[in-house]
Symmetry: C2
Subunit: 146 residues, 2 copies
DNA sequence: TTTTTAATGCAATTTAATTGCATATACTAT
DNA sequence: ATAGTATATGCAATTAAATTGCATTAAAAA
C-alpha cells in the first residue's frame, strides 16, 4: 500500500496527476482547513484563481483517486476532506465519526470510530456513514459569530 | 403526545393542514412505499397529478410539521419517509439505521437503533445520522433487476 | 351559503451543474 | 534545452434544479 505524503506535489505524483497550480491550491486549502469543506466554500476562497468548472473537475478527480473523501452534510451538500494515508481509490477507510455544526456548518472528521452495526439478514453493507449534527466547540463558546 | 394515525386524512387534521387531493396523494405514495422516496421519484409517479412546485411545498410542509423525516442519500439527494408516531415537529425520534442500496438506490428505515456515540468535549450533538450503503435484500437475490 | 383563509398551478427567475471545444500547460523523449 | 504529446484549463453555451410572485382555485369556518 502506497503511503501518501501530506505534500500536495507528492500526492499528485503518486496518483499520476499533473502538477498544476490549480490542483496544488485546492489541496493546500483542504489540508489547511482542519474541517471538511464544500465546493461552494472552496469556490469562495479560490474563485479568483481557479475557474468554477475546473474546481468541479479537480474535486471529482481527487475523489475518484481516493485523495479526498466526500461527506454529505445535513443539506445534502458534498464536503471534501483529505483522506488518511490508508485510503486507496477503491476503498476509503474513512469510517470515523463526522460532526456537522449546524451553526457554522463546518464538518469535522473526529477520531471516534464507527462502531459495529448489526445489519439485518439479506442486506450487505459496504460503507457506514455516521454523522452527528449539533454545535461544535468553537460555536459553543457563548459568542455565536463565525 | 399526539398519536398519529396512519390514515392520511387524520394526519392532516392533526397537523392543522387542509385536506387537499395533492397532500393526500403524497402521503399515500410514501406510506405505500416501504422505503424512503426522493422528490424526483415522487415527481415521476405524481407528476401528472401534482405540479412540481406544489410537490416541493408539500414535502417541506410535511418535514416542518414532523410528518416526514428526511434522509440524505449517498448522492446528497433528500429522501422522505413517514415518521414514527413519536415524532413531533420539533424533534424527530428517527434515530434508527438507514440502509441505502447502491444498486436500486432505495433507502430503508431499519429497526436497528443508533448506538451511543462518544462525542468529544466541547461538541454537543443533537441528532445522529447512521446510514449503511450496500446491497439490499431484494437486489442481493442474484438477479440485478429493479 | 357566504366569507375567510390557505393551497395550488403557472410563468418567470435564480442558481447549480454539465458539456464541448479551443487554448494553454505540464511532462516525456529526444 | 527543445519539440512533441497528452492532458488540464477556461470560457461559452447548455441543461437541470430549485425558488419566487402572483392570480386562481379550493377548503374550512361562520
Amino acid at each position: 500500500m502506497i503511503m501518501q505524503k501530506r505534500n500536495p506535489v507528492d500526492i499528485l505524483r503518486e496518483n499520476q496527476l499533473k502538477n498544476t497550480r490549480q490542483r496544488v491550491r485546492v489541496l493546500e486549502e483542504i489540508v489547511a482547513d482542519k474541517a471538511a469543506i464544500s465546493q461552494r466554500d472552496l469556490e469562495k476562497k479560490l474563485g479568483k484563481e481557479i475557474d468554477r468548472v475546473t474546481l468541479y473537475r479537480i474535486l471529482n478527480t481527487y475523489e475518484d483517486k481516493g485523495i479526498l473523501h466526500r461527506i454529505i452534510d445535513f443539506n445534502g451538500t458534498a464536503n471534501y476532506a483529505i483522506c488518511s494515508s490508508a485510503c486507496t481509490a477503491h476503498h476509503h477507510h474513512d469510517e470515523h465519526l463526522h460532526f456537522n455544526c449546524t451553526n457554522c456548518h463546518k464538518i469535522y472528521c473526529l477520531e471516534t470510530k464507527v462502531p459495529a452495526i448489526n445489519i439485518p439478514d439479506g442486506f450487505t453493507a459496504n460503507t457506514i456513514s455516521l454523522i452527528a449534527y449539533g454545535i461544535c466547540d468553537k460555536c459553543g463558546k457563548t459568542d455565536k459569530r463565525n
